[in-house]
Symmetry: C2
Subunit: 343 residues, 2 copies
DNA sequence: CCAATGAATGTTAGCGGTAACACCTCCGCA
DNA sequence: TGCGGAGGTGTTACCGCTAACATTCATTGG
């Protein structure tokens, strides 16, 4: 294995000078630099990042820690993160923190591996964990987390505004009786073996509020807000169930705002299976805009977050924190309404 | 920061003994071990993995390198990988190698960061790159790659058998005229700005062969095999286009086997939009089984790979290679047919 | 009773870089 | 002419851990 010492010997300089050439730090004369570069090329030298990490105290690693790695939601976010990090020389590691114990273990790993920074997505950490990370010099950025820890850097979607968009859209299409299936999990949680995103409650509250406010502003009465679920499978089933209730209400509602796309898919699937025409007999708007749901037929009208950009932005903020170029701040990303076939 | 020396001093032993306790290596008396553990707990000591990596030459990192991080296909695979690695003390890093240049850069990173092993997914590497990785002691496992490099460890799906399943299923349902939309990219590639998975050709060839063989074995004439595309958007559009051609053929086919789910979705969406009844007027089987497509209405009948298991298996094989417990080998994973609403 | 054995622990010397400081040379200016 | 200062380079001492060998001590069999 070629080391910096080999390069130094061949170029007839000290290891330190080679280090300076590699890191473009301080001044090196053009002649020396040329010699060193020639030796590097000739020997096919590759700096050992581990040794560098030990010497500098920085690993050059950034962690993406999320509540469920298999959630398709994460694909584009992680791509945004990776694409921001790679050119800057950072490598992205992933942790699937699908239980509280795992979160604990992940935090330990972040510290032991001297990870420079972490992005937590749909995940809450305790005050104590936050302090531990801080004292170990691991910077943090949160994406779409409920908690508002002091001095925490974050990237959030505008759930309230997104819900408003959905409601405004339905009203603009002439709908007057608009129901809402919330993602909110009330007191009685059904245990389906899935990890319950109870911390996401604020998301559903914000979305429900957005929906209600718009209806009120237009002098319309908000529906009863069926309590759905943030989990994939259960949400789908619940929505199917609620659709039947909604159809029996009098006067019959003409549109449903579903606070996430799984709920929307569940509702849609039930409507179609019952033979109803969407959107003429019942319109549906979803929220979260999975790429997939914009391609299917019928494509669901949905509120889409700029996921790639959210990941990219979070990574940029994190890198700013790491080199002390920036102070922690909060960024809110704007969603857009995708008009599909269901409205 | 607490180091191993601090623990040693407090426990009244040498650093080496502490190291032995941490790593459960060689024998340490119960009394000493207890003392050391007490000191570790008291001081809240966490070993520095970077220093350990430098000393041992192993980073404890495993890379998942793929052609397109935003492909929903990867979500479950990466979860399988992460879930296999984490308990074993390995951390997973991800690289989005969406161009040949990126592949090159990733290979360099793997070497510079002393990554213990890499899993390449839907990605080909050159003989030279393979040699470089080998000589740098980076073990490799390939998932679903076309190339068959000598001594390469791999995990593959059984594309041929999967296609056979799809065809057998259609025949069992009484279909006699079954068309096929392949993912195969012929000579004239349409440039849509997407990364063209030309290396995936073998996948499409295997699937087409499976489809043809079954039809022949049943004395049926295979269709003409429309050339689709492995890329998401383009495949969708091409399938829509082909459906119209297929409907004009005489006698009219009654089923289409689409070699991936994007093609199936494209075909389905066109059929529905033209007002045809699926599956009575035209049946569809897809291949690749995105989780999403098994939930939607109508749910697509599709050949599903055990993605989580593929990732998990690949990671296990890789860890075996890393500790020299296993020799490179080839594993073929079995797909299953998901019966949806389109057949 | 003593050498051989083996368990438990310590010592030494790195792993491959970099920070911090030391050093030398050359230039410009008082 | 002497001296401050800056550019360019080298020296030293780590970063925190472990491999490999050395040492100590108790046990045991001939």
């Amino acid at each position: 294995m070629v080391t910096i010492a080999d390069v130094a010997k061949m170029a007839g300089v000290s290891a330190m000078t080679v280090s300076r050439v590699i890191n473009h730090s301080s001044r090196v004369s053009d002649k020396t630099r040329a010699q060193v570069n020639k030796a590097i090329e000739f020997l096919d030298y590759r700096p050992n990042m581990i040794a560098k990490g030990l010497a500098t105290g920085h690993s050059g690693l950034i962690a993406y820690v999320m509540s469920n790695l298999s959630d398709p939601f994460h694909a584009l976010v992680s791509k945004g993160i990776e694409n921001a990090c790679f050119p800057a020389g950072y490598t992205v590691i992933i942790y699937d923190a699908s239980s509280d114990r795992r979160v604990e273990e992940c935090v330990n790993m972040l510290i032991e591996r001297k990870i420079d920074g972490a992005i937590f997505h749909h995940l809450n950490i305790s005050e104590q964990q936050k302090r531990m990370l801080e004292s170990s010099n691991v910077r943090c950025v949160m994406i779409d987390n409920e908690q508002e820890l002091a001095d925490m850097c974050s990237v959030d979607s505008d759930n309230y505004l997104g819900a408003r968009m959905a409601a405004e859209h339905l009203i603009a299409r002439g709908h007057q009786r608009i129901e809402c299936i919330s993602g909110y999990l009330g007191g009685a949680q059904v245990n389906t073996g899935e990890y319950i995103d109870s911390f996401q409650r604020k998301i559903w509250q914000d979305r429900t509020r957005g929906y209600r406010d718009v209806l009120c502003e237009h002098g319309l009465a908000p529906g009863r807000c069926y309590e759905g679920s943030g989990t994939v499978r259960q949400g789908f089933l619940l929505a199917q169930h609620y659709v039947r209730e909604i159809l029996h209400a009098t006067p019959r509602p003409t549109a449903i705002y579903c606070e996430n796309d799984m709920l929307a898919l569940g509702a849609l699937s039930e409507l179609l299976e019952m033979g109803l025409k969407v959107p003429t007999e019942m319109a549906i708007v979803g929220h979260d805009g999975l790429e997939m749901s914009t391609i299917l037929y019928p494509r669901i009208t949905t509120v889409m977050q700029p996921r790639y950009e959210m990941g990219f932005t979070a990574a940029e903020k994190l890198m700013g924190l790491i080199c002390d170029r920036a102070a922690p701040s909060r960024t809110v990303m704007h969603s857009v309404l995708f008009e599909g076939d269901t409205t």
